[in-house]
């Protein structure tokens, strides 16, 4: 934390300018609050005490339930006072206290009285407070008044009711949706803010009804919208309608409206329209031009917020339409010296995206001056932009690499340094000419690197790339220095790197042996163990011989198991006669939400080992299934799917299913939750109709004996399927159970129950269920090492498709494989694309797929599918999956 967030009064030493809250103490204020109970109320005094209470609450002081309730009771007595100022304070403190007070109900009658008052201001405030403390039952009682309030002629009352509606929609949607007619009327209000609030609420009420939103937009774009805020909302809803209308040909609907908003008098509206236009899917240069023009004007505005908004939008446009933004480059260059560093950083990164090869050097000069006075998080953004620029203009690698190495030497935190190192690594990988200078920069960096993680990663990378250079010996000094100067972790990494040099470069081997022998006397166990291991594997005891293939695989081979899975399996392993079997470790990579959030097309991080996944649930499933005797002879679990929901959200019973795939069996695990407190379910099972899944035969099922309220239970159904066949099919499911009433006061269930059924959604077993997503770190190497022996290539027409990206994602989903090297992302407007996939097929067979797509003007997509696998039959199976779909 940057500053101590202490109470203001604690560090006050200047008596002359003392705070009115000096020495304020909760206990004393609570004592003072007794003044609320006086028969003769002093409004001024009461207001002061309420202010003190507010101050305490704002300072983070929490009241116990007893304290809050006591104050709350006292405050309600203040409704007796007719003093307007005090009444306004009472409304505020009730709102602030209500979440922690139990007895809100006692204030309801006073508020209901105020809600029907002739004084408009009482009505408006009472509505806001009531909506804050209301529940479904009370809301039904006051609904009539709220509906009236929405169309009240006083805009303050109408707005209070509408904003209440926006909040209540989250908790009681079915009630608020009944106010649609009144809200519709309020949208036509002459009061600007009422229109704004009504429009927001109406759109939220109708958001699932595309036609209704479309009608709303159509009528409002023709009419008058008074408030700029409402106009901004309308632009947003219009964009949504355009997105959903998905028109491929002819004029884009509502474009004229958006374009006309560029001439609105409010800057907020102009900007919103410009941004909406830039975000239209498949926007043309003609459509973009007027929007870019107004954004360019904003770049030189005196208001920082406008400059920021404009440059931020242009930054995004530069990703997809760099040429459209080049006209603004001069304006953006002047923003590099903007006092607001956020604006300057955005300007620089935009320029890096739009600049041409000739402007790179000039730009780098400007950036060098700029880098010294910005914070690390901005620097990281700049480093990433420079990396992209270098990949775009490989001939400029020299100046860009120099820039990166210079900033690597300067002060900076871990994340910043990591970004630079990652960038250098990526440049080394992608630009062969940059390799030698890049490796030397990294070597110099580890001479004085304070981050163990980065040192070890660089050493690992040096071990892979260094031996392939023209003069590997020059790196040895830097590596061996680490053995003397660093901590044990780095020393151990250095030993491994030295061994890799020894393995790959025969000429260096004798000298490496000498160095490794010295490491045997290290003070750390791991360093000594590694040195001994490598000396033995490389034959350091005897004569210098060529390193054999197994040793190279040991030193350089990929560990094709996610580390997190290995860790879990090792933790579960109990020492016994039977040695730990690494083949028993699951290879499935669990999907990670973080990865999905990555920007499409983003390069994988340079050094980073695959990010650690969440703890594996595979083991949990495996343990669960192996504990059930009926499934004990099914063999080893190949894969478990992620849960598929079979019920809608907020239904009486929540059921999802996990598909467990074995060689000759499929087990459906239905996870059930009973969400009705008044019911106990017994003998719960799922009746599965497999008439649309001919290859499957039900073998056994296991019901849940008892399913009390809110306690998850699992029922299983197992099917047999032919061995080695990717059987697919559709299953319809019916939940069957005996329901017993539960007495809510005692929690006891009645003795007699009634048999009942509940229809669930259908479930499908698809080809992708037989494939595990297992990535490879270097696809090309993996592809080549797999060899052509079992390669199967064929071409397919995929017919007309919405876009190339859609076709690519459809095929990835169909096969259920792991996209490699970011190839799942398709550049906008590209006509062809290559996608690389990797996976393990049922029977633990590794499969690699190379997909080449092309799209024609008529949106017909053609695909060439090349499969390499360890088993010919699997290659055929992959082609069959594609051809049958």
């Amino acid at each position: 934390m940057a500053q101590p967030l202490v109470k203001k009064d604690d560090d006050r030493d200047d008596e002359a300018e003392y705070s009115p809250f000096l020495g304020i103490e909760k206990g004393a204020v609570l004592q003072e609050a007794r003044v609320f109970n006086d028969p003769q109320l002093d409004p001024r005094r009461c207001s002061q005490v309420i202010t003190k209470l507010l101050y305490l609450l704002n300072q983070g002081d929490s009241f116990t339930k007893v304290e809050a309730t006591e104050v709350f009771f006292s405050v309600t007595k203040l409704f007796q006072s007719k003093d307007l100022g005090l009444r306004r304070m009472v409304y505020l403190i009730i709102k602030e206290l209500s979440p922690s007070a139990d007895e809100v109900i006692i204030v309801t009658s006073s508020l209901m009285k105020d809600m029907n008052s002739k004084t408009d201001m009482y009505r408006a405030n009472a509505i806001r407070v009531l909506c804050r403390i209301t529940d479904g039952t009370l809301l039904t009682q006051i609904e009539r008044y709220l509906k009236q309030a929405i169309v009240d002629k006083n805009p303050v009352v109408a707005s209070a009711a509408l904003v209440s509606g926006i909040h209540l929609l989250q908790t009681n949607p079915e009630i608020v949706k009944r106010w649609s007619n009144e809200v519709q009327e309020a949208v036509q209000s002459r009061a600007a803010l009422v229109q704004f609030h009504a429009l927001a609420l109406l759109q939220q009420i109708r958001q699932n009804d595309r036609l209704a939103v479309s009608k709303l937009v159509t009528s409002l774009t023709r009419g008058t919208v008074r408030s700029p805020l409402a106009q901004c909302l309308l632009i947003r809803y219009t964009s949504q309608v355009i997105r959903e209308s998905n028109t491929q040909t002819g004029d884009r609907p509502f474009y004229d409206f958006l374009e006309s908003c560029l001439r609105h008098k409010a800057e907020m509206v102009i900007f919103e329209a410009a941004r909406a236009i830039t975000e239209l899917s498949g926007v043309t240069s003609r459509e973009l031009t007027p929007a870019i023009t107004v954004l360019q004007l904003f770049l030189s505005s005196s208001k920082p917020v406008l400059r920021f908004a404009a440059v931020r939008t242009l930054n995004k446009v530069a990703l997809t339409h760099p040429m459209a933004v080049t006209n603004c480059n001069i304006d953006m260059e002047s923003l590099i010296s903007d006092q607001n560093r956020s604006i300057a950083t955005l300007a620089i990164t935009t320029l890096l995206k739009t600049g041409n090869e000739s402007s790179v050097d000039r730009l780098m000069k400007q950036i060098t001056n700029f880098m010294s006075d910005i914070a690390d998080e901005f620097k990281i953004v700049v480093v990433e932009a420079i990396r992209s620029l270098c990949l775009k203009f490989p001939l400029k690698y020299r100046s860009l690499m120099n820039f990166l190495s210079n900033i690597l030497r300067e002060e900076g935190g871990f994340e910043y340094k990591k970004a630079i190192v990652d960038s250098i690594v990526i440049l080394i990988r992608d630009i062969p000419e940059a390799k030698e200078s890049g490796l030397l920069h990294l070597c110099e960096f580890i001479e004085d690197c304070e981050f163990t993680y980065l040192s070890t990663q660089i050493l690992h990378f040096l071990g892979i790339e260094g031996p392939k250079t023209t003069d590997p010996s020059k790196y040895i000094r830097y590596i061996y220095n680490r053995v003397h100067l660093e901590n044990a972790t780095v020393r151990a990494a250095s030993v491994s790197t030295l061994a890799k040099f020894g393995a790959m470069v025969d000429a260096l081997k004798p000298r490496i042996f000498v160095l490794l022998r010295r490491c045997i006397f290290d003070s750390d166990d791991e360093v000594r163990d590694r040195a001994t291991l490598y000396l033995n594997t490389l034959g350091g005891d005897g004569e210098v011989v060529e390193t054999d293939k197994d040793v190279k695989i040991f030193l350089f081979g990929d560990l094709d198991i996610p580390l997190v899975n290995l860790e879990t399996s090792l933790k579960n392993y109990e020492p016994s006669e039977e040695p730990f079997d690494i083949d028993s470790v699951p290879k499935e990579v669990k999907s990670q939400p973080l990865v999905e959030k990555k920007a499409p097309g983003k390069k994988p991080a340079g050094l980073g080992a695959p990010p650690a996944g969440p703890p594996s649930t595979v083991d949990a499933y495996e343990r669960l299934l192996s504990s059930i005797p009926e499934f004990s002879n099914f063999g080893k679990l190949f894969k478990s799917s992620s849960p598929v929901e079979l019920t809608e959200a907020e239904t009486e019973y929540a059921v999802n299913v996990v598909k467990h795939i074995f060689d000759r069996h499929v087990v459906f695990q239905y996870n059930c939750i009973n969400t009705i407190p008044e019911q106990l379910l017994e003998n719960v099972s799922v009746i599965v109709d497999a008439s649309e899944a001919e290859d499957f035969t039900e073998v056994t099922s296991k019901p849940v004996r008892s399913l009390p309220y809110d306690t998850p239970g699992q029922t299983f159904v197992a099917f047999e399927k032919p061995d080695g066949i990717t059987a697919v099919g559709k299953f319809s499911n019916m939940l069957r159970f005996i329901v017993k009433e539960v007495d809510p006061s005692t929690g006891e269930a009645e003795e007699d129950g009634v048999e009942d059924e509940y229809q669930l959604e259908d479930l499908e077993v698809v080809a992708a269920d037989y494939m595990m997503k297992v990535g490879v770190s270097n696809f090309r190497n993996a592809w080549e090492s797999m060899g052509e022996d079992f390669e199967r290539v064929d071409e397919y027409g995929l017919g007309p498709r919405e876009s190339l990206a859609e076709a690519v994602s459809a095929v990835i989903n169909l096969l259920g494989m792991q996209p490699c090297e970011g190839t799942e992302a398709v550049a906008t407007n590209s006509r062809s694309h290559t996608c690389l996939l990797s996976g393990v097929f049922l029977g633990n067979v590794r499969v690699l797929v190379r997909l080449q797509f092309g799209i024609e003007g008529s949106r017909d997509v053609a695909m060439k599918l090349a499969v390499r696998s360890e088993d010919e039959a699997v290659g055929d199976a992959i082609h069959e999956i594609v051809s049958c779909s």
Binding site: A2, S19, T51, G85, N154, I166, P304, R312, R341
Partner: protein, 147 residues
């Protein structure tokens, strides 16, 4: 959604904070992030000069008025321009209540009324009022003049 309105003194001590839709465990993170942002940029800046930043999909607009620093945080429809509107009305109301850009002492003297103004401007993350004259009347439970 207007995620937060936060007012601190120039030393980073919180005077008023209102969070909406921000989980309790994330609040202290936001608090220190905003205070640092102010400490880095607001010292020596002009009264009511706007500063802006964004982090992922969240926007921050902040400024100084008298001796107090003021931050508003928003996302979705509350982007930088909408936040500028919000901060503008908050500063206008503070100036109105205090009758000048306030010292910290003056701000605390008018604490109750400033809380009322905030209550009229932002309610649970939604902008409710944007005119200072109207707000000035509403906090005294007087109806707006333009009805």
């Amino acid at each position: 959604m207007l995620l937060a309105v936060l007012i601190s003194n120039s030393e980073g001590n919180i005077l008023i904070e209102r969070f909406n839709g921000v989980p309790a465990e994330e609040r202290s993170h936001w608090r220190s992030f905003l205070v640092k942002l102010g400490a880095d940029n607001l010292k020596g800046s002009r009264n009511e000069e706007l500063f802006v930043a964004s982090h992922k999909s969240v926007y921050v607009v902040y400024t100084v008025i008298g001796d107090v620093y003021l931050y508003v945080v928003g996302k979705d429809e509350y982007d930088e321009l909408a936040l500028a509107e919000v901060i503008f009305i908050i500063t206008a109301s503070i100036r109105d209540v205090c009758q000048k850009p306030p010292s910290e002492r003056l701000f605390l003297d008018k604490y109750g009324r400033i809380c009322l103004c905030l209550d009229e401007i932002v309610w649970k993350g939604v902008l409710e009022n944007t005119e200072k004259e109207r707000i000035n009347r509403l906090i005294r439970l007087k109806p707006p003049t333009n009805i």
